[in-house]
Each structure stands twice: as structure tokens, then as C-alpha cells.
């Protein structure tokens, strides 16, 4: 495993990601470019954490960058045998056209559906603002 200290993206200790920040786009130019498979930067991890809606501190991003690089280096092994002639399989035992009769089945009551919600108004889930000021 690499012992290099990865660069940090932010001097502050507060969460480095939020829904409104898009630090650096993930490398989206295929396998070309400077970041080939196996090379992961802190900027990428910060962006991925943002996409996954998980706030991470700068320290967590730094640690995860090292861990992900090691994992990706290992799992990239799949490319050795995944030649173009091999079809992809998404399910072990594929079933097609799984339908049921189009009739109303057993459903949850409104009360049941709201029973686990952190906040509700008796008939609807309650959430904070959908749009921020910038939008």
C-alpha cells in the first residue's frame, strides 16, 4: 500500500463538500488524461463524496484517497480478462417480464408510511428547503 501523503484540498477542518460545491469534475474523458485507472486524487474523492451526498472532513478525504487508490489498483485486475467478445451479465439467474395482475394489492396506510419519518405533518413527509439561495 502507498505510504505517500496525499495533497489536501482545503486548509479548513469543516466538511470539504456540500451540495452546492462542485470542486473538480471527476475525470470524465475515458481512460485517457492524466488520471488513469488506479490513480485517485483528493479532488476526485471530494467530488465523489459530494455526488454520494456524504460530507467528509479534509482528513477523511485524505485517508479515503489512499484507501481507494489501493482498492482500485487491485480491482482493476478485472480489465485483464474482460475482452470485447465477453458479454456482460447483470444477474445470476435472469428472469424476464415479471408481472403481477394490475390490481390494488396490500399497501401501507398513511400512518404506517409516516411512522418512521424523522419529521412529518401528519399527512406528508416534512423536509427543509429544496432549493438554496443560489438556485
Amino acid at each position: 500500500m502507498s505510504t505517500e501523503t496525499p495533497p489536501t484540498t482545503s486548509e479548513s477542518a469543516r466538511p470539504a463538500t456540500s451540495a452546492n460545491s462542485r470542486p473538480v469534475a471527476a475525470n470524465s474523458n475515458g481512460n485517457g488524461g492524466s488520471n488513469g485507472p488506479g490513480e485517485i486524487t483528493t479532488e476526485q474523492v471530494a467530488h465523489l463524496a459530494n455526488l454520494a451526498r456524504i460530507n467528509l472532513t479534509t482528513a477523511e478525504i485524505a485517508k479515503m484517497t489512499v484507501e481507494l487508490a489501493a482498492i482500485v489498483e487491485n480491482v482493476a485486475k478485472v480489465t485483464e480478462v474482460a475482452t470485447p467478445d465477453v458479454p456482460a451479465t447483470s444477474h445470476p439467474i435472469p428472469l424476464t417480464n415479471v408481472y403481477r395482475p394490475d390490481v390494488v394489492g396490500e399497501t401501507l396506510t398513511q400512518e404506517q408510511a409516516l411512522s418512521g419519518a424523522p419529521e412529518h405533518d401528519g399527512s406528508r413527509f416534512r423536509v427543509s428547503a429544496i432549493l438554496g439561495e443560489e438556485q
Partner: protein, 515 residues
């Protein structure tokens, strides 16, 4: 007396319940007492529903007294992995994000075991969202291996395996995405079965990786797993991946296997890629001795090669995180579970990000971000796409060798139980524990693990894994029961009877009472 009831297999206990020799109330009390005595050491349970269990047991006893014809396992206590939704017990999947969440419905398997009259004792500990091989990634603290409390019980279903191995329950439910039933069974000297993909409903199982997850039985004997599989298996219209097959009686297959003790006509393939370097010496030794026993019983044993298994772990750690990152998107602080409001408020996305930061543990964060990476534009083909191709190659390997052999065999895990904390800071080392079990999940074939002895170097249990073609689950129960009978003939006892007694005070108390 109460101590003895916890030592019975589920099938033996069921016989005593049917004959009226023992009541379900007595059996349930015995297990609740055992739980109280050993839980401070083992921590197999996240929730114990003592009052509800006693009430259920009394109701079963009353129905039996009324002459009602009950199922074969009616009145037998059972532990339920916390990944399964239970309408009357919290269901957290080992995560803080679901702390205290009580689902508004039962998982289909839970509904079926209630209908069959089993008595739920509580919910068992697990790695958070079933991500792990040691149960150390539970947000509620690790489970300890009953054979050595300083060691891990395997994972993710370490709680279910430890509960049966510590005689806290004769049966448990587990879920197996990459070995979470079979590897803990191997490490605790118990039995665990991953059924054919689609053989058991996943409705109400909190999804980890939907193309890999399968619910299955955990027990101390092969017959007990078969009996439980008979209860929970079969088509469920609420799970679109559920197979419509008519399944044979797995209990009948296990009974037949135990009775014949012969393997004449059966061809068994030793998987070349799942042995050798990297396998602990005592694991290899006990595995080879078990294979000799199979040969002596008339099986034809050959070596087979499945070259693409070498790529199984890599494919698994792309497919699983990719699917998990999607499945866990539902934990968004809106409909259930935790909500953390950032200081000064924020948008729903800010709340979501703060909630997931606080609610998910490090391994869950790691895998969600890895999955997000594997699915992102520019990497999708190289990683997720390639992993799906490897899955095809692994399925082809299985199909090719199953043309020549009836069953495949390997050690269930490369090592015996390791020390708590030993691999916690090294995700890659932890991932290697599933080397032997992952191929079955990628191909959807059934796999069973049962104990074959103790490794001479550390005195810890070793498991053997059998795999059969999809839909041939009965073959595993029959063969498993044969090997179990042959081993117990040889030993003169069950393996778990050799485990340390975790509650010596309890034993002394009953001895004193008998004087």
C-alpha cells in the same frame, strides 16, 4: 434441565415439543436465560424481545394443547439477523442511520417463520449494512467468537452464527451477499446455507447488492438448516427475482443423506483455485481429511480448474459497491431513520449530506464512494462493465465444471477466526476473507458450509464448503448431512459440544440444584 434444552438441535427440540415432553414456554425461557448469561461476553444480539417471545411461546403451547396441527418447527426459538424487517422489533442493519427504526411491515421470511409457529427471540448483530467479514463494522460494537472471545465470529452475519454456536438459539436467519452466512458458520463451527439466488424471498431484507443478496438459514446441524429452508423458501410475488420453482423437501434430503452415509455415484470436484498458498495449514489439513472421508464413503473426487475465480474478488468489489451506492441512496433523512440538521439550516441536500456523514460508518462510506467511482462516466466501462464480464466468465467456469462433477468443494474460508482488530485498518486484507465464498454469489449457485474439525495449531473451527448447480440446493443438504454424520461417527460427538462453556456459573448452579 434448562441448560440441556439449549443444547438440543432444532429438530430434536421440535420432536420434544410435538410429543409434549417440553413446552415452547420452557424452551423459550431456557434460551432467554442462556442469552442473559452469555450476552455480556458474546454480544450476538442487538435486540432481545423477551416478553414477546414468551407470549408467542405460550400462544403456540395453547394452540398445540387445543389439538391444532402445527408445523414441524412450531415452538422452536429463532434469532433473526438485523438486516431483516420485523414489525415488532427495531431493524437497524447494524447502522446508526437506522437506530431505533421499527419497520411497518415484516420481511416475507419473517412472516413465514411466524406463520410456521417459530418464536423470534430477537435481532442479531452484523457488520453495518452487511459490509464486512468480521462483524467489527457494526455501529453497535463487535460480536465475539464463542470459541475464543478475543476473536471475530466472521461476518457480516457474526451475530447469527455466534448466537447458534453459543447455544443462545438453535436457529437463526442470515443473509449472504459474498459469504456472510457461510464464512461466519465456518469460523464458529456452525452450519450455514446460501440458497440458490431467487430461492428465498428478499422482500423486507434491507438490500446491500441486489444481484448478489440471498437470505438463508443458520444452525448447528445440516438437518436444522434444511428444516428452516423448507419454512422460508419458495416463490414470493413481492420479490421480482423470486423463482417460481417447486422445491423438494430439503429436510427429506438431509434425512436421506444422514441415513445412507454413502456417496456412491457422486462426483465431487475440488476447486484448484480455492486452495494452496494463502490457506492456513490447519484449514488445509482438516479439509483434506474431510475429502478423504468423502472418498472412503464412495464419492469420486477429482480436481477441477476454474481459472476466472482468480478475478472474482476484484469483480465483487466493483459490483457490490456499485449496487450498494444505489441501494443506500434511500437513506436520505426523509422517510425513515436519522436526520441531522446542519448548524444554521440548509437545503434538503445539505441535510442529507450531514445525515449520511453522521449515520454511516467508515466502511459504508468507503464502499458507497468506491461504487460511485465505479459507476461514474469515463470509468463505467473499465470497472463496472468489466466486472460484469468477469461475472459471465465465472458463470461459464461453473457451467463447464458442473458438466463433469455433481458438486464442488473447497475450504469455506482461508483461515480460522482472527483476532478482533487484526484486519480492521486494512480493507484489502479484510476483503480477502471472502475469497472462497464470493464465486457462488456471482453465479447465483447455492453453497453450504459445515464444520470439519478444529485446526491443530489454534484449536479453532474449520469449515468445508460445497457448491451445487443453481436449483440443486437439495443435493447440498443430502451431501452435507452425510459428511456431518460420518464426521460425528468418527469424533463420537458434535464439534460444537467441544466449544468452551461460556457460563460456568450457570452450569454450577444447575449442578448444585441437582444435588
Amino acid at each position: 434441565m434448562s441448560h440441556d434444552l439449549t443444547r438440543l438441535s432444532a429438530s430434536n427440540l421440535a420432536e420434544k415439543l410435538t410429543s409434549g415432553e417440553v413446552s415452547s414456554a420452557e424452551a423459550t425461557d431456557a434460551h432467554l436465560n442462556r442469552i442473559e448469561a452469555v450476552e455480556p461476553d458474546v454480544h450476538a444480539f442487538l435486540h432481545v424481545a423477551a416478553d414477546a417471545a414468551r407470549a408467542t411461546a405460550k400462544a403456540i403451547d395453547a394452540r398445540r394443547a387445543d389439538g391444532e396441527k402445527l408445523g414441524p418447527l412450531a415452538g422452536v426459538p429463532i434469532a433473526i439477523k438485523d438486516v431483516l424487517c420485523t414489525i415488532d422489533m427495531p431493524s437497524t442493519a447494524g447502522s446508526k442511520i437506522l437506530e431505533g427504526w421499527v419497520p411497518p411491515y415484516d420481511a416475507t421470511v419473517v412472516k413465514r417463520l411466524r406463520a410456521a409457529g417459530l418464536v423470534p427471540l430477537g435481532k442479531t448483530n452484523m457488520d453495518e449494512f452487511a459490509m464486512g467479514s468480521s462483524t467489527e463494522h457494526s455501529a453497535y460494537g463487535p460480536t465475539h467468537n464463542p470459541w475464543d472471545l478475543d476473536r471475530i465470529p466472521g461476518g457480516s452475519g457474526g451475530g447469527s452464527a455466534a448466537a447458534v454456536a453459543a447455544f443462545e438459539a438453535p436457529l437463526a436467519l442470515g443473509s449472504d451477499t459474498g459469504g456472510s452466512i457461510r464464512q461466519p458458520a465456518a469460523l464458529t463451527g456452525s452450519v450455514g446455507m446460501k440458497p440458490t439466488y431467487g430461492g428465498v424471498s428478499r422482500y423486507g431484507a434491507i438490500a446491500l447488492a441486489s444481484s448478489l443478496d440471498q437470505v438463508g438459514p443458520v444452525s448447528r446441524t445440516v438437518l436444522d438448516s434444511a428444516l428452516l429452508h423448507d419454512v422460508i423458501g419458495g416463490h414470493d410475488p413481492r420479490d421480482s427475482t423470486s423463482l417460481r420453482d417447486e422445491w423438494p423437501s430439503f429436510a427429506a434430503a438431509a434425512r436421506e443423506g444422514a441415513a445412507t452415509r454413502s456417496l456412491k455415484g457422486l462426483t465431487i470436484g475440488i476447486v484448484k483455485e480455492l486452495q494452496g498458498d494463502g490457506f492456513q495449514a490447519g484449514v488445509t489439513q482438516r479439509f483434506q481429511e474431510a475429502v478423504e472421508l468423502l472418498t472412503a464413503a464412495g464419492a469420486e473426487v477429482v480436481e477441477v480448474s476454474t481459472p476466472s475465480f482468480e478475478y472474482a474478488i476484484s469483480a465483487y468489489y466493483l459490483i457490490l459497491p456499485a449496487e450498494a451506492s444505489s441501494n443506500l441512496a434511500k437513506f436520505d433523512s426523509v422517510r425513515f431513520g436519522l436526520r441531522v440538521n446542519p448548524v444554521g439550516g440548509g437545503t434538503v441536500e445539505d441535510v442529507m449530506s450531514a445525515t449520511r456523514e453522521a449515520g454511516f460508518g467508515p466502511e459504508v462510506k468507503r464502499r458507497i464512494i468506491l461504487g460511485t467511482y465505479a459507476l461514474s462516466a469515463g470509468y463505467y466501462d473499465a470497472y463496472y462493465g468489466s466486472a460484469q464480464k468477469v461475472r459471465t466468465l465465472i458463470q461459464r467456469d461453473f457451467a463447464r465444471v458442473f458438466a463433469d462433477v455433481d458438486v464442488l468443494v473447497s475450504p469455506s474460508a482461508p483461515t480460522t477466526a482472527f483476532k478482533l482488530g487484526e484486519k480492521l485498518d486494512d480493507p484489502l486484507a479484510m476483503y480477502l476473507n471472502d475469497l472462497t465464498t464470493i464465486p457462488a454469489n456471482l453465479a447465483g449457485v447455492p453453497g453450504i458450509s459445515l464444520p470439519v474439525g478444529l485446526a491443530p495449531e489454534d484449536g479453532l473451527p474449520v469449515g468445508i464448503q460445497f457448491m451445487a448447480p443453481a436449483r440443486e440446493d437439495a443435493r447440498l443438504y443430502k451431501l452435507g448431512a452425510t459428511l456431518e454424520a460420518l464426521l460425528e461417527d468418527k469424533w463420537g460427538h458434535t464439534l460444537l459440544s467441544q466449544a468452551p462453556d461460556l457460563a460456568p456459573q450457570e452450569m454450577f448452579a444447575s449442578e448444585e440444584g441437582a444435588v
